[in-house]
């Protein structure tokens, strides 16, 4: 919460991207979240990521449900399309929008409440249907808007601000996504933009459903001693296994990667993700191994971060499976969209 708006004044030597825009031109309205909220850092990472891949603001559709997390769509890329849906129903809206217009880039922002409680079924089916979108869960383990009750992602043993201990087992969105066949699964931390920004860029470019679970501490209700989702605890139990570098299409790879330590995955549009293994034994393309690895680490209270699983060879992508229109509905001629009563009669006659 701030009393003044972020001034329009910018650093005089701010760089511009291929569209001639500065990072500042990818910002949105002033955040009204608590000072120090992890979500604001995620917002800044999205701004940076969209600017970095030269995304046209009007080419982006941002969708959200209800919750602190779901407010954040207002805070980035003011020039994008947006839809703030009913609590937990953002995946349905996103599915519909994607089906109607596959040319836009879709980003859904949700929280652990919106996605893992009220919208759990919605999320599961969006993953299963492999909607072509980036889905970010800003995961802080509490219901911030209703003053800090445990959410469905709260770990066993974590303490609430007033001292009560959580005994209910959590839902882990990464394990959920892996088990439902998601083709891009990542975890990151709001306090590590170096890791988060390329993940968002790769997620936006991934053909299919991309999930990034971002540990995003609630500075007001879940940043105390005993919490397993505080800034301090997250930093202490933070275990990056795979760092991803995003290389846009037709750019040269300028960084030297050590033999055997790096793995290049080409995305649908020709851009590449270079995966740097920090843990040599880890293979991000092996889903079941990834599942096993994450599960083991969770038992040791470790947050495995990075691009946990990627599969660019999947054929289950929503548009392919459902043969959705290549031309967005808003560009189809009226006669084709609404062929009239005669065509309807003809169609119905087929089932008589």
């Amino acid at each position: 919460m701030s009393y003044i708006n972020k001034p329009k004044v910018a650093h005089p030597s701010l760089p511009t991207n291929a569209l001639g825009l500065t990072r500042r031109q990818y910002e949105g309205a002033m955040s009204t979240l608590c000072a120090g909220c992890g979500h604001d850092s995620v917002t800044a990472a999205i701004v940076e990521a969209c600017w970095g891949i030269d995304l046209k603001p009007e080419q982006l559709a941002k969708l959200s449900g209800i919750g602190c997390s779901s407010k954040t769509t207002a805070y980035f890329v003011a020039g994008a399309h947006g839809f703030n849906s009913v609590h937990g129903r953002m995946p349905s809206i996103a599915s519909g929008a994607a089906a109607a217009n596959r040319e836009l880039t879709y980003i859904g922002i949700s929280g652990d409440g919106d996605s893992l409680s009220i919208g759990f079924g919605q999320l599961a089916h969006a993953i299963r249907r492999n909607i072509n979108m980036l889905y970010i869960i800003e995961n802080n383990g509490v219901y911030g808007l209703t003053k800090g009750q445990f959410s469905a992602s709260a770990d066993i043993g974590t303490k609430a601000k007033k001292g009560e201990v959580n005994l209910t087992p959590p839902i882990d969105p990464v394990l959920l996504a892996l088990s439902l066949g998601a083709t891009f699964v990542a975890r990151s931390f709001s306090g590590d933009k170096q890791q988060l920004v390329p993940l968002i860029q790769a997620g936006l470019k991934h053909n299919g459903f991309a999930l990034i679970d971002v540990l995003s501490p609630c500075v007001t209700f879940n940043d105390h001693e005993g919490s397993t989702r505080s800034y301090t605890f997250t930093r202490e139990h933070y275990h990056p296994v795979i760092e991803a570098d995003f290389v846009p299409k037709a750019s040269e790879i300028t960084v030297d990667y050590q033999e055997g330590q790096a793995l290049s995955v080409e995305l649908h549009d020709g851009s590449q993700v270079i995966l740097r293994k920090l843990d040599a034994s880890y293979d991000p393309t092996d889903r079941s191994a990834a599942y096993h690895f994450i599960e083991t680490k969770i038992k040791n209270h470790e947050y495995v971060t990075g691009l946990i699983h990627i599969d660019e060879s999947s054929t289950t992508e929503f548009h392919t499976l459902n043969k959705t229109t290549k031309v967005p509905l808003n560009r189809l001629p009226f006669e084709k969209l609404s062929p009239g009563n005669a065509a309807l009669q003809k169609l119905q006659a087929r089932w008589r």
């Binding site: 708006n5 001034p7 004044v9 910018a10 120090g36 909220c37 992890g38 800044a44 501490p217």
Partner: protein
């Protein structure tokens, strides 16, 4: 890098670029805020505490503060600091009651000041309240020195001069007009004074000895000519005038000429425009008044026919310039410029024909006195120098600062203390936090462009020699201009141990000043900040190691707009907005320590 030592008074002082650049260290943001609140009298007094002549300087200061202004690095134009000073002076109430007064009981020490210019007047201003008896010797019938004789009345009205000089003289200075000092020996031998301050300026205009120089009486020395105009001895000049030289004196000469009947005035410069010494705004004003500036012409001879000046011959020059340096010069042949009068404005020097060479006041081989740069003491302990007399021509605001420093030395000397044992500068910091995320200063950035000062119409201003050209800001203009000030004295102060590294400050900073990064050398840090810090004149503020990751918070002070959003967004108050007040010691502060 080691953590920045913010307790060091100069650190935050440098962040307040205007105050740091001002020779007298006027607390600019403070008085601009007072103007914003309509507290013109308070704003005037904040000014007077350091620069002594706000009304005068608000019109004719050299404004070293403005090129330094941070606003100029963010947009094109700095805050109109100088013109806001004039607003304070023009709109204030009577201040006589609130000025320092001399005590009834004197301290028994007598000081002589030679010349009644800004330096001597400052010495008197600082020493009279301490009980000193100060005598000022002035060669002319009016005080003010160069401020009166060399600055035309159309830039600085006589009433403003009289009023501000009057404040000092009425404290009880013994001002002896028409009393030139013809022999320093005599003055010292009289044993009448415990210390002598020489503030006699640099009154000798430079000559240009070229063929024909002595064949006519229509060639004038700029500063002497301006002096004669000021005293009404000269009231006319020919229709066509050439001014030689392109400093601020040249600007005053050309504009004065226009007011004395000249129709065609040309300022002749040897070099291209980028090498001009005149302030940009003075050039602008002169050109607006139809003065022509002719570059790349070197004077060759004065052409006199039958005892009458007909013009001047010049060599036309061409230069090869690389990175602001002249690499080669070529002569392209002669060019004749007809004229009726020539004014030489190519510089001035200090001259001391009245200082005997055997009285212990040493002068070097250029006849410049040997003066200590900090204490302003000469080689004879009871003789001090200041203003243009000390190190050659500078400007009024430097003279004032010399006066302050010399006053401290004179006080120390008279009290038997070493003149070098001077109080250091200090800094106090007080938080401006009011509520959760609110600060007791207007932190919102105002994108307004610099206001233009209204001028008297061209046709009106030449009717008399003393019509003040600049009208000063209107109330509306001033109200907007003050909002352009960035409040650079509202410092961002960081407490490393409170930081949880949530990045909130970094994300919100509109000008990308902040970065959390592993520590390194200054060069490494400057290169890896969120926006590279390319201005080495501006410091990096480096924190101690942060508690969670041992990285450091680095702030590039260069383009911070002091909006306070870093502190508003900080959940742990690791960032705080604190007002820095820089304590600049004057003689009265030294006196307090002497007493205690």
């Amino acid at each position: 890098m080691e953590p920045t030592q913010t307790a060091e008074p100069d650190y935050f002082h440098k962040v307040v670029d205007c105050q740091w650049a001002c020779p007298a260290h006027t607390d600019v943001p403070e008085y601009i805020r007072l103007i914003a609140q309509g507290e013109f009298t308070e704003a005037y007094l904040v000014n007077r505490a350091t620069n002594v002549f706000p009304g005068i300087l608000g019109r004719v200061c050299d404004r070293p503060c403005e090129p330094a202004c941070r606003r100029g690095r963010i947009e094109d134009k700095p805050v109109a600091i100088c013109r806001l000073k004039r607003v304070a002076a023009d709109h204030r109430d009577e201040v006589a009651q609130r000025l320092p007064r001399a005590p009834a009981k004197k301290n028994g020490k007598k000081i002589a000041c030679i010349g009644a210019g800004p330096a001597s007047l400052t010495v008197a201003n600082d020493l009279l309240p301490l009980g000193y008896e100060v005598t000022i010797f002035e060669q002319f019938g009016v005080p003010g020195g160069l401020m009166r004789t060399n600055i035309p009345a159309f830039r600085l009205p006589v009433q403003v001069l009289d009023e501000e000089i009057g404040y000092i003289v009425s404290m009880g200075a013994d001002l002896r007009l028409n009393s030139p000092v013809n022999s320093l020996r005599k003055l010292l031998d009289s044993r009448e004074f415990d210390a002598v301050f020489v503030g006699s300026g640099a009154p000798k205009g430079k000559e240009l000895e070229l063929p024909g120089r002595r064949d006519t009486d229509r060639i004038h020395i700029g500063i002497s000519w301006l002096e004669s105009v000021a005293f009404g001895h000269i009231e006319r000049i020919g229709e066509r005038v050439l001014i030689i030289g392109v400093g601020n004196t040249a600007m005053d000469c050309c504009r004065t000429s226009l007011r004395l009947g000249a129709k065609d005035v040309q300022v002749m410069a040897r070099k291209p425009r980028e090498f001009f010494k005149a302030s940009a705004w003075e050039l602008e004003d002169a050109e607006q008044e139809t003065v022509k500036i002719v570059v790349n012409h070197a004077p060759k001879s004065f052409v006199v026919k039958d005892g009458k000046l007909t013009g001047m011959m010049f060599d036309k020059l061409e230069y090869d310039i690389e990175n602001g340096e002249i690499k080669a010069t070529r002569e392209l042949g002669e060019e004749f410029f007809p004229c009726d009068d020539v004014i030489l404005a190519i510089g001035q020097e200090n001259a001391f024909p009245w200082i005997e060479r055997d009285i212990g006041v040493e002068l070097d081989r250029w006849n410049v006195p040997k003066v200590d740069k900090v204490t302003f003491q000469s080689t004879r302990p009871e003789v001090f120098f200041g203003g243009d007399a000390a190190f050659g021509p500078k400007n009024i605001i430097w003279s004032v600062e010399h006066g302050h420093q010399a006053a401290i030395s004179i006080h120390k000397f008279c009290q038997g203390e070493p003149v070098t044992a001077r109080m250091p500068r200090g800094v106090t910091l007080t938080s401006r936090k009011m509520g959760m995320h609110e600060w007791s200063y207007k932190n919102e950035y105002n994108g307004a462009e610099r206001r233009l000062v209204p001028h008297v119409a061209l046709v009106e201003r030449f009717k008399k020699v003393n019509i003040e050209v600049e009208l000063g800001f209107t109330a509306e203009q001033a109200a907007l201009e003050v909002q352009r000030c960035l409040n650079c004295d509202m410092q961002t102060v960081f407490t490393a141990k409170l930081c949880i590294e949530c990045d909130a400050c970094i994300d919100i900073c509109p000008v990308d000043c902040l970065t959390i990064t592993p520590n390194g050398t200054e060069g490494e840090l400057r290169a890896r900040l969120k926006a590279p810090a390319t201005n080495p004149q501006q410091a990096l503020y480096v924190s101690a190691a942060l508690p969670q990751t041992a990285r450091v918070m680095v702030k590039d002070e260069d383009v911070c707009v002091h909006c306070g959003l870093c502190a508003e967004r900080c959940p742990t108050a690791a960032w705080d907005m604190q007002k820095s007040t820089i304590k600049i010691p004057h003689a009265i502060d030294e006196d307090a320590t002497c007493r205690s």
